[in-house]
């Protein structure tokens, strides 16, 4: 079994937007993979390494912390999206050598800066027809106390 993959049980009040993308541990982690042949991480997890084509890959939890590499905001709802706008949108660089496309909790680009510390969170995207909150992954600025 993949780490954390079964943690969204039928008991859970929420549903993940897709199975196998992230854990519901605290803090949550993205569920990627690592290729034994080339050593690169990838996300989401694939059976085949998307960089070297090796089939020698295994699931890997990715770091919950990363740094902001690019960011913008989405101001109009894209196709198939039922949630609120605006929302932040960007790329986080993780210590595994991976850059991940992600929603950002901060929708104002002016409040973000390059190399900012960010941590992974889950957020409710919308509520489905059966009344269940559908949850996706996002990154939030690390609050400096």
């Amino acid at each position: 079994m993949r780490p954390g993959a079964a943690t969204f049980s039928a008991m859970s009040a929420t549903v993940p937007v897709r199975q196998g993308l992230f854990t519901d541990t605290d803090p949550p982690h993205l569920l990627g993979g690592r290729c034994a042949a080339c050593g690169h991480h990838h996300f989401p997890h694939h059976d085949i390494c998307p960089y070297c084509a090796s089939e020698d890959t295994e699931p890997a939890e990715l770091s919950a912390m990363g740094r902001l590499w690019a960011w913008t905001a989405v101001t109009h709802a894209p196709p198939g999206y039922k949630g609120e706008v605006p929302y932040g949108f960007g790329v986080i660089e993780l210590p595994e050598g991976l850059r991940v496309i992600t929603r950002l909790t901060e929708p104002d680009p002016a409040k973000l800066h390059f190399d900012q510390s960010m941590h992974m969170v889950t957020e409710v995207l919308h509520v489905d027809d059966e009344g269940r909150p559908v949850v996706g992954y996002a990154f939030a600025p690390v609050e400096v106390p």
């Binding site: 937007v17 897709r18 993308l21 990627g32 690169h40 990838h42 996300f43 989401p44 998307p50 960089y51 590499w69 690019a70 960011w71 913008t72 905001a73 989405v74 101001t75 109009h76 709802a77 894209p78 196709p79 198939g80 999206y81 039922k82 949630g83 929302y87 949108f89 960007g90 790329v91 660089e93 050598g97 991976l98 850059r99 991940v100 496309i101 929603r103 680009p109 390059f114 995207l125 919308h126 559908v134 996706g136 992954y137």
Partner: protein
């Protein structure tokens, strides 16, 4: 390999045309190109049609309406580079001696509003990750961080291209704009404002290719040669690749599909960026044009802003880029846009471009890149 000549070109203007079908537009473009080439029914042995959203049998309907079928008709999809893919297939087939004359055309009637593409998976749509302009925004922001390009430069690209487009009767937008108005248009995805993004629209373009030793077109003295037509996809690993992966590697050395295609095209044509006199390049957004300067080798890394500022890429400059007005003036009918560039370059190389003529242009380069990822680079010479 035989030399390949552009025997004729045709265009249906780019814009929005209520009640005009995709076939109607294709017929206009193909008929125009056949007429210029002096080619009639039975005069070509294969046809290649580029379209992304045309649906089943798009090319067949165009040629069916013209009463010209029976030969192989291949409909090709390669995103923004669909027309370039069709041109690559047609020209290689002639070069290999498979055919003497082929018709290559591209047609599109883009749905209005945001395009719901089959490209993204349902979960990506549900998570708001199918946000196409946001990817353009991220690419633009990264480029600005590394190149010295500012929002003023992005506005200046729009001003330049709209100034060029004002002289192009086949463009959708034919008026000058001011930089202040560009910057005053609403923000779509920082740093991109509405006027910095091209509009998906409708149109068609066609080219008749012929083996050069089969005789030049009677009508056009200045024969235009197709020196190369190259298509390349992306290498895996770049997070902001037009292949739109959900993650990528921390590796900034990966060549882009544009650079892969340009490198191969220069080699195929036996020349380099310094030999180019006029360029039509992908300006889906204003930053994309400036990135293309670098990726095509027209300037060194970090040199795009200066090149633009110095007027090098304006008509009248050393290396005009998008004299047609680019996609920012013409709009982008996906399947047709790459061949629309080729039509513009052929007019430029023949000296028929009127008020937007690049004087003395002898070598032209056309560049498209988009979803797939696919990049196309075409080099034409007179």
């Amino acid at each position: 390999m035989s030399d390949v000549e552009v025997a004729g070109v045709g265009l249906h203007p780019f814009g929005r045309f209520e009640g005009v079908s995709i076939s109607d537009m294709g017929v206009t473009a193909v008929r125009g190109a056949l007429r210029e080439a002096g080619v009639g029914k039975g005069g070509f042995q294969a046809a290649f049609c580029g379209t992304a959203y045309g649906g089943v049998a798009t090319g067949h309907k165009v040629l069916g309406a013209l009463g010209m079928t029976g030969m192989p008709i291949v409909d090709v999809e390669a995103g923004c580079a669909s027309g370039a893919a069709a041109l690559m297939l047609g020209s290689k087939a002639i070069g290999a001696g498979q055919y003497d004359t082929v018709v290559v055309f591209g047609v599109e009637k883009m749905p209005r509003g945001i395009i719901r593409s089959s490209f993204f998976e349902p979960w990506q749509e549900e998570a708001g990750l199918a946000a196409t302009p946001a990817y353009f925004g991220l690419r633009a922001q990264r480029f600005m961080q590394t190149s010295g390009v500012t929002k003023d430069h992005l506005a200046a690209v729009v001003v330049k291209n709209r100034r060029h487009g004002a002289h192009n009767p086949d463009a959708m937008y034919r008026s000058d704009v001011e930089a202040a108005d560009v910057l005053a248009s609403r923000v779509v995805c920082e740093p991109l404002h509405l006027w910095m993004l091209c509009s998906p629209n409708e149109g068609a373009a066609a080219v008749v290719l012929r083996r050069a030793d089969k005789g030049t077109s009677a009508r056009h003295g200045a024969a235009v040669q197709l020196d190369s037509a190259v298509l390349r996809s992306h290498l895996p690993g770049a997070v902001l690749s037009e292949s739109t992966p959900m993650a990528g590697l921390t590796d900034d050395t990966l060549p882009t599909p544009t650079t892969l295609a340009a490198t191969a095209a220069y080699e195929e044509a036996g020349l380099g960026p310094r030999d180019i006199d006029v360029v039509e390049c992908q300006d889906t957004d204003a930053a994309r044009e400036l990135m293309s300067y670098e990726e095509l080798g027209l300037c060194a890394a970090g040199g795009a802003a200066e090149m633009l500022d110095a007027g090098v890429t304006s008509v009248g400059g050393r290396l005009p880029v998008n004299p047609s007005g680019g996609l920012l003036s013409k709009g982008e009918p996906l399947g047709a846009s790459a061949l629309g560039q080729v039509v513009e370059l052929v007019h430029q190389l023949r000296g028929e471009a009127g008020a937007r003529q690049v004087h003395g242009a002898r070598v032209g380069l056309a560049h498209t890149v988009g979803r797939g990822a696919n990049a196309g680079v075409v080099i034409l010479r007179r």
